[in-house]
């Protein structure tokens, strides 16, 4: 089975407001999948539907080849963006409660919890009350609770918020480890550099619509528009004439730290690279010539603006 989760034509309406409009996604098994979008786009609603917390008005969710049921939540682990714990309860007792809600026996849960508490170096918190913990500490407990029952599908909504870089790094490693052990991860965040780092595939949701879906590598290439970065020494005018003569679109972008002049060249198609490079080579001294890969930040902004314009 290729895809662990397929959402088909999901629509969900609240009073006078359509939170999701005909949204479909396909999440491949064993990969990290990014679910992106501006605030209020409908991500959380989609995640809640995947978690069987709310039901869609129309459309369906296929999990492991069958339509999603309440029983499937035992194979899903969800770390919500806004998350808390029972303040008056002790950490260990509380973690046990959540683990047993996911169907683990008391003994099994205790063994696994002790293991995880040791792994994240929080063993001595077991008998502390949650209200004594800092926000970051509580987040660690929540992370453990999310992954403890070894779910096939993990959903993390802004998992790194509230963490210092060291602990964020620890968490990132643990997430990748879980993926390597066979779990699929859906990862929702506004932090685009962590998307570049972790995700193989993404879906970008804007104003209740899926506006962009696919493998990160392909999307970044597509958004590059056959652009190349050029560092050179020589006359900008000569460069401009040569490049435009070969059919490329050129933008002068300034000086790099080494003192070389910079320019971005956009080719009409990938096969023009050779031609343009030849023409440019005759006009200036090339220091470097590298393909421009669009950053996820850039793609996010461009895709959202484009879809907003289309809708207006």
């Amino acid at each position: 089975m290729e895809n662990i989760l397929i959402a088909e034509n999901i629509t969900k309406e609240f009073t006078g407001h359509r939170a999701l409009d005909d949204v479909s996604i396909e999440v491949p098994r064993g990969k990290v999948y990014g679910l992106l979008g501006p605030n209020g786009a409908g991500k959380t609603t989609l995640i809640r539907i995947i978690n069987h917390i709310t039901a869609p008005d129309s459309g369906r969710v296929i999990f492991n080849g069958h339509e999603l049921t309440a029983a499937d939540t035992a194979h899903i682990g969800y770390l919500p963006e806004e998350r808390g714990l029972y303040k008056k309860m002790k950490v260990g007792e509380q973690a046990l409660f959540f683990a047993r809600l996911k169907g683990l026996s008391r003994q099994e849960a205790t063994v696994r919890l002790k293991e995880w508490f040791e792994r994240l170096e929080i063993s001595d918190w077991w008998d502390k009350k949650v209200e004594e913990l800092s926000k970051g500490m509580a987040q660690k407990v929540q992370f453990i609770v999310t992954v403890l029952h070894r779910p096939q599908l993990l959903i993390f909504d802004e998992p790194f918020s509230g963490f210092d870089p060291i602990n964020a790094g620890v968490l990132k490693r643990e997430i990748l480890k879980l993926r390597d052990e066979g779990s699929t991860v859906i990862f929702s965040t506004h932090n685009m550099s962590s998307v570049e780092e972790l995700c193989e595939n993404i879906t970008l949701i804007n104003r209740s619509h899926n506006i962009l879906s696919g493998p990160v590598a392909r999307i970044r290439e597509e958004f590059s528009d056959n652009a190349w970065e050029l560092a050179y020494v020589g006359s900008p005018e000569a460069l401009q004439t040569a490049a435009e003569g070969a059919g490329a679109n050129i933008t002068l972008t300034g000086i790099d730290p080494m003192g070389n002049a910079m320019a971005t060249l956009r080719m009409p198609s990938p096969k023009d690279v050779r031609n343009v490079l030849g023409a440019v080579n005759g006009a200036v001294d090339i220091r470097s010539f590298t393909p421009h890969i669009a950053s996820m930040d850039d793609i996010f902004v461009r895709a959202v603006e484009m879809s907003n314009q289309q809708q207006q």
Binding site: F14, T15, R48, N51, H52, I53, T54, A55, D57, A70, T73, A74, I76, G77, Y78, L79, P80, E82, R83, G84, L85, Y86, K87, K88, M89, F97, F98, R100, L101, K102, Q142, V145
Partner: protein, 419 residues
């Protein structure tokens, strides 16, 4: 263990293990006992203090008949009033005018240092009245007039016998009245305290966002029902503990009281004792109390659960909360008049409507009402709480994800219609 059971267990244990629960459960009955025993205790400890009253008797016939008691001692004054007023060794100065025996409405004046007590005033007035009566009886110069008067006096005791029951049972309306009031107050208190506990606890979960984590493993309806049942069990635990304490206390105290009552030989008091000492009667009342509590609690806590799910904080809840609080208060107000006349048509109706039935039924039950009425009322109550819980669950699963806007009743109704 299923997830609902886990929720119930958590809600229950979290509260029962709390110090405040243990303390109130044990201290409340003690406090009640103390409150009831207070007057006796105060009398016991405050009596030895003797107060001296100076008597200026111009009639000359009253003073010799005043008898000193443990609390008061009368001293015939040998000084005029202005001098006595300076004398702080007397707690009071009693002035009796010369013509008091002949007056139509006899009166005397008591000057006191500091406040006097009703007890003292009544005691003195009674003694003066007795003395005047004696003087007047003497004035008629008829032999044995006092004895004749005693023989004429009639003191009637009315005992009521219910003839609509299988066997004629002597009942005391007084006991039923008091029991009715106590039971509906108890029910009122429990429904209000524990029903609102459901609301605050849901608001708490919502505002600290632990709810988001819980609902990823349990469906919202199970969470809501688990919470209501868990908290309800806490209440029942408390009721049962109090019931047992009460049973133990009365098993120990009633025989002693009973023998004291037989010694006094007052038929009315004996009736009270026999009714109170009837364990079957008490047990059936207690059984109904638990059944009506379960119904009333579930009915109201469903409303409070729906309200709790829809707001972000306690402050926002107060307005909506009155949807439930007002009927509960109406219920207790109605039952105040129901105990006056438990068989009236009004009493019958308010004890059928589920909003008021738990409280008003409780105040009617001790009087003994037809079983079909109790069962119908209970049936209506149980059916309506099921309907309400179903409705509350529909509101709840939408409400818990609504933040920011303060909802209105219209919002709640609209949410209930969502798929």
């Amino acid at each position: 263990m299923s997830s609902v059971n886990l929720i119930i267990a958590r809600e229950y244990l979290e509260r029962v293990k709390r110090k405040s629960f243990i303390i109130t459960t044990i201290l409340m009955p003690l406090l009640m006992l103390l409150l009831m025993a207070a007057p006796t205790l105060i009398m016991l400890f405050s009596s030895p203090e003797e107060r001296r009253i100076a008597v200026i008797d111009d009639s000359g016939v009253i003073a010799p008949q005043l008898r000193s008691t443990e609390e008061l001692s009368f001293v015939v004054a040998d000084q005029p009033l202005p001098l006595l007023r300076e004398d702080e060794s007397f707690a009071g100065i009693l002035v009796i005018e010369s013509g008091i025996v002949g007056e139509k409405a006899p009166s005397a004046v008591l000057y006191t240092h500091g406040a006097s007590s009703i007890m003292t005033e009544q005691l003195i007035a009674q003694q003066i009245s007795d003395a005047i009566e004696n003087q007047r009886i003497k004035a008629y110069e008829i032999d044995n007039l006092r004895q004749i008067l005693n023989e004429i006096e009639a003191d009637v005791t009315l005992s009521t016998v219910r003839i609509d029951k299988s066997e004629d049972a002597e009942t005391s309306s007084l006991v039923s009245y008091v029991m009715g009031l106590i039971m509906d107050m108890l029910l009122y208190m429990f429904i209000l305290i524990y029903g609102q506990m459901v609301m605050t606890s849901i608001i708490e979960e919502k505002s600290n966002r632990v709810l988001e984590i819980v609902v990823s493993s349990v469906n919202p309806t199970a969470l809501m029902v688990g919470k209501i049942v868990g908290i309800g069990l806490v209440a029942i635990t408390q009721i049962v503990i109090w019931g047992v304490l009460l049973a133990v206390a009365s098993a120990w105290a009633l025989p002693a009281l009973g023998s004291a009552v037989t010694a006094v030989n007052d038929p009315e008091l004996a009736g009270v004792m026999s009714q109170l000492g009837d364990p079957a009667w008490l047990a059936s009342l207690f059984g109904w109390l638990v059944l009506f509590f379960i119904g009333g609690y579930l009915f109201y806590s469903a409303i409070w659960a729906a309200i709790g799910s829809s707001v972000d904080n306690i402050q926002d809840a107060s307005q909506l909360s009155s949807i439930a609080t007002v009927p509960v208060i109406i219920g207790i107000v109605c039952s105040m008049s129901v105990v006056q006349d438990p068989d009236s048509t009004m009493a019958m109706w308010v004890s059928m409507i589920p909003f008021t039935s738990p409280m008003t039924m409780m105040s009617r039950l001790p009087f003994g009402i037809p079983l079909w009425q109790i069962l119908t009322s209970l049936g209506i109550l149980y059916l309506s709480f099921m309907g309400l819980i179903w409705l509350a669950a529909k509101i709840y699963r939408v409400g818990i994800f609504m933040y920011g806007k303060k909802p209105t009743l219209a919002d709640l109704i609209r949410w209930a219609r969502y798929k």
